[in-house]
C-alpha cells in the first residue's frame, strides 16, 4: 500500500538520499514487466534457498568435488563485477572518488545493498590491515543457513565475493578463505582475506585442525608457512 505507491518516486525525488535501504525504498517493482530494479538500477531476481541448493547440487552432479572451487570462482567474478558497479553508483551518489573516502565508511556503504538484498549482516575487522590481512564476519550466510550443519565450511560464494571485490579495491591480488562457518555449528561465519601465502597457511592449519582463534593468533604472531 502506502509506501509502495511512493516508492517509485523516492529515488527520483531524492537521488542523493543515502539511507535508502528499507525494502520499499530499495526495490522498485514494475508490475507491467514483472521485474524488480534496485535503488542503483540493477535488475534483481528473488529466489528462495532452492536457488542456492540448485546451484550447489547441480554443480556437485556435474563437476563433483570441483564444485567448491567453481562456487569460489563465481564469487570472485561477482566481487570483481560488483566493484565496478559499486564504484559507479558510489561516485554518483556521494559525488566524490571512492579513493578519497574514509575506508570503513566506504566498506559499510558497499555492504548495505547486500544487507537489503537479504545476504545477511556483516562485521569487518581491519585491525590487522597494516600486516596485510583482515577478517570479515557474516551473520546468517545464505549458503550456510541453507545447507545446514555439514561439519565444514561451505560459503565459497561469499569467500570468492570478498576476494574479487578487495582485489579490485586495492588493485592487488588477494584471496579469501572461510575459517569458521555456521555449517560447522558456529553461530556465524568468519572469513580471512589476504595474500595467497597467508591464505595457504590458514588452509594448511585448518587441515591440521586449527580453529579460527588459533589461526588469528598464529597470523598475528607473524607465523607463515615456509
Amino acid at each position: 500500500m502506502v509506501i509502495a505507491t511512493a516508492q517509485n518516486s523516492v529515488k527520483r525525488k531524492h537521488p542523493k538520499k543515502h539511507n535508502h535501504y528499507g525494502f520499499r525504498d530499495f526495490f522498485q517493482f514494475d508490475p507491467d514487466k514483472g521485474t524488480i530494479l534496485d535503488w542503483n538500477q540493477g535488475q534483481n531476481i528473488l529466489t528462495t534457498e532452492d536457488f542456492i541448493i540448485g546451484l550447489v547440487e547441480g554443480l556437485q552432479e556435474e563437476v563433483g568435488d570441483a564444485s567448491a572451487a567453481t562456487m569460489y570462482t563465481i564469487g570472485c567474478e561477482w566481487g570483481l563485477k560488483d566493484a565496478f558497479f559499486f564504484e559507479n553508483w558510489f561516485e554518483k551518489e556521494f559525488e566524490r572518488s571512492m579513493r578519497q573516502t574514509n575506508l570503513l565508511f566506504l566498506l559499510e556503504t558497499w555492504w548495505w545493498p547486500f544487507t537489503a538484498q537479504g545476504w545477511g549482516r556483516w562485521e569487518i575487522d581491519m585491525g590487522d590491515r597494516k600486516q596485510g590481512f583482515m577478517f570479515i564476519n557474516i551473520f546468517d550466510s545464505a549458503v550456510a543457513r541453507t545447507l545446514g550443519d555439514v561439519g565444514k565450511p561451505v560459503c565459497y560464494l561469499y569467500a570468492g565475493l570478498f576476494a574479487g571485490f578487495f582485489t579490485e579495491l586495492v588493485k592487488k591480488q588477494l584471496s579469501c578463505i572461510e575459517i569458521q562457518c555456521y555449517s560447522m555449528g558456529e553461530t556465524y561465519c568468519k572469513f580471512l582475506i589476504g595474500g595467497q601465502d597467508r591464505i595457504d597457511a590458514a588452509a594448511f592449519w585448518m587441515n591440521e585442525g586449527a580453529t579460527a582463534r588459533d589461526i588469528e593468533k598464529r597470523l598475528r604472531s607473524g607465523e607463515i608457512l615456509r
Partner: protein, 163 residues
C-alpha cells in the same frame, strides 16, 4: 494511505513539513473516526448486506448456474473487503494491486460481466441504504474503481490445460 502522507519520512532530514502537508495529515486523522465507523459497519453487517444481494440476484437470474452466481458473490465479498480496507487507509491503489490484479483476469475468462453488472447495482443499493452519505463518500472512490474496471473489460476464451 494518501501517497503524500506516506512520504512524510522521505524528506524528513531536509526540512520540516509545510503547513499544507501538515494540514493534509490533520484532515486524514480528523476523518479517521468516521472511517472507522464505516469500516466496522461494513464488517459487522457484511453477511446481511451480501445475503440480501444474493437473494435478489438469484431471483433475478433463474437461468444462471449456482456455481457462477457463487463465484460472482465471492468476488463481490472480496471486493467489498478490499474497498473497506482502502477506505480505512485512504488508498485506492490497494484495490488495484490486491483485488483487481487477481480478479480481473479470472472474471475475463469466466465472462461474468452481465451478472456482475446486476450484482453491483443491487450491492450499491444496499450500501447506500446502510451507510451515511459521508461514509459512502469515503467508500465510493475505491468501489467505483473496482466496479468500473471489471465491467469495462472484454472477455477472452478460457484455457483448457489439464493436470
Amino acid at each position: 494511505m494518501h501517497p503524500q502522507i506516506a512520504a512524510v519520512f522521505d524528506e524528513a532530514e531536509n526540512r520540516y513539513l509545510k503547513p499544507e502537508e501538515l494540514k493534509l495529515i490533520s484532515q486524514y486523522v480528523a476523518s479517521m473516526p468516521e472511517r472507522l465507523d464505516a469500516y466496522r459497519s461494513l464488517r459487522d453487517r457484511e453477511l446481511e448486506i451480501v445475503q440480501a444481494v444474493a437473494d435478489q440476484l438469484e431471483a433475478a437470474s433463474p437461468q444462471e448456474s449456482e456455481e457462477t452466481l457463487e463465484r460472482c458473490l465471492k468476488n463481490a465479498l472480496l471486493m467489498l473487503r478490499y474497498c473497506a480496507l482502502s477506505l480505512l487507509v485512504n488508498d485506492e491503489s490497494l484495490v488495484e494491486r490486491r483485488f483487481l490484479a487477481w480478479v480481473s483476469p479470472l472474471a475475463k475468462v469466466y465472462d461474468t460481466k452481465a451478472i456482475d453488472a446486476k450484482l453491483y447495482r443491487l450491492l450499491n443499493q444496499q450500501l447506500s441504504k446502510m451507510l451515511t452519505a459521508k461514509q459512502l463518500s469515503y467508500l465510493s472512490p475505491s468501489l467505483s474503481l473496482a466496479q468500473e474496471a471489471l465491467l469495462s473489460q472484454s472477455s477472452t476464451p478460457q484455457m483448457v490445460v489439464s493436470h
